[in-house]
């Protein structure tokens, strides 16, 4: 009997460990903190194809191989084990490194999450280049991170610092190379794309006491590494004409990582001694995954063939953001607040969780009550079970909407431009891009924009989500039609999928 209970408990615990909902962790950290890049291995779980530059010899050597990441999250303390197996056959170089980090997370009163990471123990690391061994003998690491979870996007920024001392050669040697790294991380997570970019400054200082004469040299590298998951939707035309549907859309998803470095190290003379001339090395490298393709449903919108908003409408139906299959879609129909929130929440989707984390929670000895707690709606005029009730509740919980006042949501009222743009900018969490809450917008009808939406309208104009009409107006009181809503939602997806990455990767590399 006792054995059966133990067995049952073990099974329950296993289920809890493996199936507990994962917290959306800050940045997944799949690139590590050594100035390298990675992309997920399509076959091996928790394994990544990885590449980094080794500067220990004073000449850049590209090392490639695998990085395995295992993380366990126990009561907001994450233990992460990073195992690197890298080599470069041409340069006769290998690297083996195991680093275990402990990350402590804390959720602050405003919902922001701070993280602090340190080494759990001295990492093991041995690098061999052309028969010369570099063995890690000292290491220090610290990292901090802040995550600001907004309704549709988690924003992250952080910094890390690392110092590693390697002994050159085997046995008792006094020759050392010290590598000092400091880096900043900028990242965001969301459904339509995610990007993590690190700007790393690396200093390499060699102290060759056994050389004749003893010599010291130093060099530095600036490395920008970036890893991104991207989506793209392309139209695929049909060649046969006798086919039941027109061409459709294909969703492409892939991961790409980029390493861009500029390094300046002394030129070495024919005897291997450093000269005073600094040689500049520049290169860009990348890793990528094979594209995943998936077809979108082809909606029945033949009544819109050739219509100027056909593409966004077709894609939104294909992505199942617009409800139904399209045959009854009327472009000029006004949308209610309920319908708009339903569509918006379908478009924003949940932020993916870190796949490498196993969350271990302590089993609660007390049984939770099996009685169903009655569902309480956040709004007086929206009942559980109503159309889009879950979406409206979620939008309220995420701070996208606070209703129309007096505890009501006004689900059946037609949504206006001002209300819609306020919800969108709240979802993106970017209100701070314009003076808050008192922005003066670039629209000619600025003064008739309701005060609550003025800042949102200003931000949306900066982000390029909305454009003024031919008179330069925003038209805040205009009701949103199905067509306007489709265009707006399509623009948000485009912004989240294609534009945000430019700010987090392209422009950091360029400027």
């Amino acid at each position: 009997m006792r054995r059966r209970i133990i067995k049952l408990l073990a099974i329950i615990l296993t289920i809890i460990i493996t199936a507990a909902p994962l917290n959306a962790l800050a940045v997944e950290g799949t690139m590590g903190y050594s100035g390298g890049i990675s992309v997920v291995d399509p076959i091996e779980k928790s394994e990544y194809q990885y590449s980094e530059m080794c500067f220990l010899t004073g000449v850049p050597i590209k090392l490639t191989g695998t990085l395995t990441i295992k993380k366990t999250d126990k009561n907001d303390v994450v233990t992460s084990t990073y195992t690197y197996r890298l080599s470069n056959t041409e340069a006769n170089a290998t690297l083996n490194r195991v680093v275990i980090f402990t990350t402590t997370r804390e959720t602050k009163a405003n919902g922001q999450i701070t993280e602090s990471t340190r080494l759990s123990r001295l990492p093991t690391e041995v690098i061999n280049v052309g028969g010369t061994t570099y063995r890690l003998i000292e290491s220090g690491f610290t990292q901090s991170m802040i995550t600001d979870p907004k309704a549709a996007i988690n924003y992250h920024t952080g910094e890390f610092s690392e110092r590693k001392v390697y002994a050159i050669g085997t046995g008792a040697t006094r020759d050392t190379v010290t590598v000092t790294l400091s880096g900043r991380t900028y990242a965001y997570d969301q459904y339509w794309s995610s990007t993590e970019t690190q700007r790393v400054n690396m200093m390499v200082e060699a102290d060759l006491r056994n050389a004749n004469p003893p010599v010291k040299w130093g060099g530095a590298a600036e490395i920008v590494v970036s890893s991104a998951t991207l989506y793209q939707i392309n139209y695929a035309e049909n060649e046969p004409t006798h086919i039941s549907f027109d061409g459709g859309y294909v969703k492409k998803r892939w991961m790409e990582s980029t390493l861009d470095y500029t390094a300046r190290f002394p030129e070495f003379d024919k005897n291997g001694l450093p000269t005073d001339v600094l040689k500049t090395y520049k290169d860009t490298q990348s890793l990528g995954t094979q594209m995943e393709l998936s077809r979108l449903m082809v909606p029945d919108i033949k009544h819109l063939n050739g219509y100027w908003a056909e593409e966004p409408i077709s894609i939104l139906f294909g992505l199942e953001i617009l409800p139904g299959t399209g045959e009854n879609f009327k472009v000029g129909k006004y949308l209610t607040r309920r319908e708009f929130v339903g569509i918006l929440m379908n478009a924003l989707k949940d932020i993916p969780a870190d796949p490498d984390v196993r969350t271990a929670t302590t089993a609660n000895s007390r049984r939770s009550s099996s009685k169903n707690v009655p569902e309480i709606s956040p709004f007086k005029d929206v009942e559980p079970g109503d159309l889009y009730y879950e979406e409206i509740k979620k939008a309220y919980q995420k701070g996208i909407t606070s209703g129309s006042g007096n505890g009501n949501f006004g689900p059946n009222a037609y949504i206006t431009n001002a209300e819609a743009i306020k919800m969108i900018v709240s979802a993106l969490g970017l209100e701070n891009l314009a003076p808050y809450p008192a922005a003066a917008t670039p629209f000619t009808d600025n003064d008739i924009i309701p005060a609550y939406a003025r800042n949102a309208a200003s931000v949306a104009a900066i982000l390029g989500i909305i454009e003024p009409d031919y008179m330069g107006r925003f038209n805040p009181s205009n009701r949103l039609t199905n067509e306007n809503a489709a265009n707006l939602i399509f623009d948000i997806i485009n912004y989240m999928g294609n534009e945000l990455i430019k700010d987090y990767r392209d422009r950091i590399i360029d400027f």
Binding site: V59, V129, F268, D269, P437, T441, K502
Partner: protein, 557 residues
């Protein structure tokens, strides 16, 4: 009693009302508060609508951001204008600033003194980064092609801060085709530009190609091309890749080829963020079969799309599909200037006698290279300078002798020493080198390079057909990881001419293979480098050794 109480209460209320209403400057205003300030008076906030340092006032929008309507102007002036005197403390973005630095669009916090004048002011800017490519540039204006494909024009001045790689530079450093970031704060008609950043490293056009279109792969967004040729130095050269090659489209290039493909595609590539060459522009042409390339200088461009060239009478037109590259940057054709040297690939129109330009390349920036000297070292002042007894200086393909000593300065951070067996160390350059004859490549008196290679005097010119490693290369065997391998290369030259030092004429020669040793001097476009700078198709001058035939000085422009 009741009346006395009522009187006291009335007087009290009156006192409070009088004491709490200020008369700020010449204006009467409503008592309003910055967010979160409900107790202390005299504190105001809002977005700056106007700042007039000459008259000494600042006008804010209303607290809710309204006040843009012209009908609201009077009310805004009476209620939201504040006056200031000299030397009021101003903070902008946390830094001390002057009142002139307050710009429309700034979020301002104002504290008034008891007389209603501004006591201090603190503002935060809300500059927006506008990214794009410098499309056209004049002395006082800049047209930016934004990332979304739209155009915007900015007024610029010479005092506008410009940065590249976080270092200050000038407006003239912005070349058309450069990718830039403009920090703009817009408010109504006011546009304030805080500065311009030029991209850290210019991503030049890495190649201009053409070939026969095989197909367009819409899934991988790439084009398959056969018979690929690269436009090098004004001529089409076959690339090393044989058969069909695939070229990926850049994610920023949204144009797609026509549905039914045929004929020839001309395209330019740049390195994408992953370091892979990607197509940044492509044009699809049905070729007439008669094509030619030419080099000339531009005189003018007519509105009808005709290029007027200095030495050519051909009528050469251009269209929206003509690929124009200037100084390594993809530009609009209007960015070409009078007397720009052009290399043009064109084909005859199918319908008339005009030529249509497919590709136009211009290198307007010509860098003067360093000077090459040779002399016998008379004296070495270690780490500081070397003096030669007398020297020869390379002028064209001839050595000009000067019978006077000359001293060259050593700058350890740039001066390099290369010897036959590898890179030398300037720190070890001492009296042991006295009486040795060396080449000195110098900029002014600063040594860039010293080479111990032997004296050469046989000039050769030609076009590089190929570069190969010398099989007899002397690999570095000292086991050091960080020393550069000592290798020789072999340049294969076509269209070769050899200079006859006696008759002073260039004479035709069969194709040549010239060995380039490790300690050769390679200068391309004013830049000293190694043989890796030289590409197939380059036109070069080599000064080689008359006996061994080794090329020691390789010049390419």
């Amino acid at each position: 009693m009741r009346s006395k109480k009522a009187t006291i209460l009335f007087v009290l209320i009156l006192t409070i009302v009088i004491s709490s209403s200020h008369i700020p400057g010449n204006y009467i205003f409503a008592e309003t508060y910055a967010p979160g300030q409900t107790e202390e008076g005299g504190l105001f906030s809002g977005v700056v609508k106007e700042n007039n340092p000459t008259l000494g006032y600042i006008t804010l929008y209303f607290e809710d951001g309204s006040g843009a309507d012209p009908n609201a102007t009077d009310r805004l002036i009476s209620l939201r204008s504040y006056t200031y005197g000299y030397d009021i403390p101003v903070l902008r973005d946390g830094y001390e600033a002057g009142v002139d630095d307050i710009k429309p669009g700034d979020m301002a916090f104002i504290k008034l003194d008891k007389d209603g004048y501004i006591e201090k002011i603190s503002v935060k800017s809300y500059y927006e980064s506008v990214y794009g490519t410098a499309y056209l540039k004049g002395a006082t204006w800049l047209v930016l092609k934004k990332d979304d494909g739209t155009f915007v024009s900015y007024t610029i001045s010479n005092t506008l801060p410009v940065y590249k790689n976080n270092r200050p530079c000038t407006i003239s450093d912005i070349l058309v085709g450069d990718r830039i970031r403009v920090l703009v704060q817009k408010n109504g008609l006011n546009v304030d530009i805080a500065g311009i950043d030029i991209e850290k490293q210019t991503r030049p056009v890495t190649g201009i190609y053409r070939g026969k279109i095989e197909f367009f792969d819409s899934i991988n967004t790439s084009i398959a091309v056969s018979g690929v040729q690269e436009f090098i130095n004004g001529r089409w050269e076959y690339t090393p890749g044989i058969g069909i090659q695939s070229f990926r489209y850049s994610s920023d290039y949204k144009e797609r080829p026509p549905k039914r493909l045929g004929g020839t595609v001309y395209f330019a590539t740049k390195k994408a963020y992953d370091g892979i060459d990607s197509i940044v522009t492509a044009s699809f042409r049905t070729t007439s079969g008669y094509e030619k390339t030419t080099r000339d200088n531009l005189l003018s461009m007519t509105d009808g799309g005709i290029l007027e060239l200095e030495h050519t009478s051909d009528i050469i037109s251009f269209d929206k599909n003509t690929i124009a590259v200037k100084d390594g940057r993809l530009v609009d054709i209007s960015a070409l200037s009078t007397l720009d040297p052009l290399k043009i690939s064109m084909e005859k129109s199918l319908y008339d006698n005009k030529f249509i330009a497919n590709v136009i390349v211009s290198e307007s920036v010509v860098k003067n290279g360093p000077v090459i000297y040779r002399g016998r070292i008379k004296n070495v002042d270690p780490l500081k300078s070397i003096t030669v007894e007398s020297f020869v200086e390379l002028e064209g393909v001839s050595w000009k002798f000067t019978n006077t000593p000359k001293t060259f300065d050593i700058d350890l951070s740039v001066s390099r020493l290369i010897e036959a067996d590898g890179v030398g160390n300037m720190r070890s350059l001492d009296s042991a080198y006295v009486n040795r004859s060396v080449y000195i490549v110098a900029e002014g008196s600063k040594i860039l390079l010293i080479s111990t290679a032997p004296y050469v005097d046989e000039p050769v010119t030609g076009r590089v057909a190929g570069i190969a490693a010398d099989n007899d290369e002397n690999n570095d065997e000292n086991g050091n990881d960080n020393t550069e391998a000592v290798t020789s290369s072999v340049l294969r030259l076509t269209e070769t001419k050899i200079y006859d030092n006696e008759s002073y004429v260039w004479e035709e020669s069969p194709n040549l293979s010239i060995t380039i040793p490790f300690n050769s001097i390679v200068i391309k476009n004013g830049q000293i480098g190694t043989i890796s700078l030289i590409k197939a198709g380059d036109e070069i001058r080599i000064i080689r050794h008359s006996q061994s035939g080794e090329g020691i000085i390789i010049l390419c422009q």
